[in-house]
């Protein structure tokens, strides 16, 4: 028997593809955000609201990943922004190559802001670099305050955590302080926004955050 050395990270191929995307985004001058959450946390509703509020301020586009159907793209597309749907056909996350292929359908240079709505999944999307500038995530309060401790990786990787559906807090035992404390134990620099797409609470802070990040990236900060 001969022992052969391989020493190869299994995400190396993805990381190389992500770097290709990153270079492309830099040349195009577009700010790219990878938006992640578990299924049903409210990403698509948030992006509908975001499109309505930002479409006159920034040239915004959305690429949305789902296992099946174009329902999310149809919903977001009604709000007057370019949308492209990726169907992973069973895949539990987007990877850098899927995004690269989708970029051919949506010219990044025609955009200021590209939001990639990842497949609804609190686990796997966090593992895959897409070449984005930032990752943000939604934790809806119906999911429970223990999620940062139980599903840590996404909280470690995100720049921003949106606490979503906060209009439901009066009906729940969700402990906001405990959830935020656990998330910041994982990631001390994590920014947090409380938001409800239903009542509009926090939406202005969210769009201001996006514009601020777009400006910071454009100015090389």
């Amino acid at each position: 028997m001969i022992e052969l050395t391989i020493e190869r990270g299994l995400l190396d191929d993805n990381d190389r593809a992500a770097q290709v995307n990153r270079d492309r985004f830099r040349k195009a001058g577009v700010y790219v955000l990878n938006l992640m959450s578990g299924p049903g946390a409210g990403k698509t509703t948030l992006l509908e609201q975001t499109a309505q509020r930002l479409r006159d301020r920034l040239r915004m586009g959305v690429i949305v990943g789902d296992i099946q159907t174009s329902r999310d793209a149809d919903r977001i597309g009604r709000h007057g922004v370019p949308v492209h749907q990726i169907n992973t056909g069973g895949g539990c996350h987007l990877d850098a190559r899927m995004l690269e292929a989708a970029l051919d359908a949506m010219d990044p240079a025609s955009l200021d802001l590209l939001i990639v709505e990842n497949v609804g999944n609190l686990v796997c999307p966090a593992e895959f670099d897409l070449g984005e500038h930032d990752k943000a995530m939604v934790l809806s309060v119906t999911e429970g305050a223990d999620k940062p401790a139980k599903y840590p990786l996404m909280f470690c990787q995100s720049r921003l955590m949106i606490l979503g559906k906060v209009d439901l807090l009066p009906y729940l035992d969700f402990d906001c302080d405990a959830a935020i404390a656990d998330a910041r134990a994982l990631n001390p620099g994590l920014e947090v926004l409380r938001l409800s797409s239903k009542t509009g609470e926090g939406l202005e802070a969210w769009t201001d955050w996006l514009v601020g990040r777009w400006r910071a990236v454009r100015e090389g900060r």
Binding site: I6, E7, G9, D13, C92, V123, D182, A185
Partner: protein, 140 residues
Amino acid sequence: MHEVVVAQQIVEAVVDTSLRHGGRRVRVARMVLGELACIDPETLTFAFMVACRGTCAESCLLEIRRLPLVLRCRECGAEGQRAGPVEPCSVCGAIGGDVLQGREIRLTTIDVDDAGEACGKEAGIEAIMSGGGLPSRFRA
């Protein structure tokens, strides 16, 4: 949850390495898997067994070495194993820390026969690209 994709990548890398050394049959593939990686070892082992069918790695053993989570405390700087990423530091009790080890998903070595018939090209990358032994629903 993406064990099938990872298993295919392992088979690709294993077969590629074997073919570059004469295409001998692969008996063991070794990898390290951090406790914080979003991969279930049992599911990965099953997916690997299926994905390597029809290649020179068919029936080879996948040895997975788990790497425990090691954090560096952000308060006192102590480095040590923790049961989870929000467990307190054993020295000062501060919660959490920076991950030094635990995210690894990495192949390390393989054992191949040093004699015997070399596997042909048909047992190589082409077999994997066409889906290898994967049921059709998993094929790209």
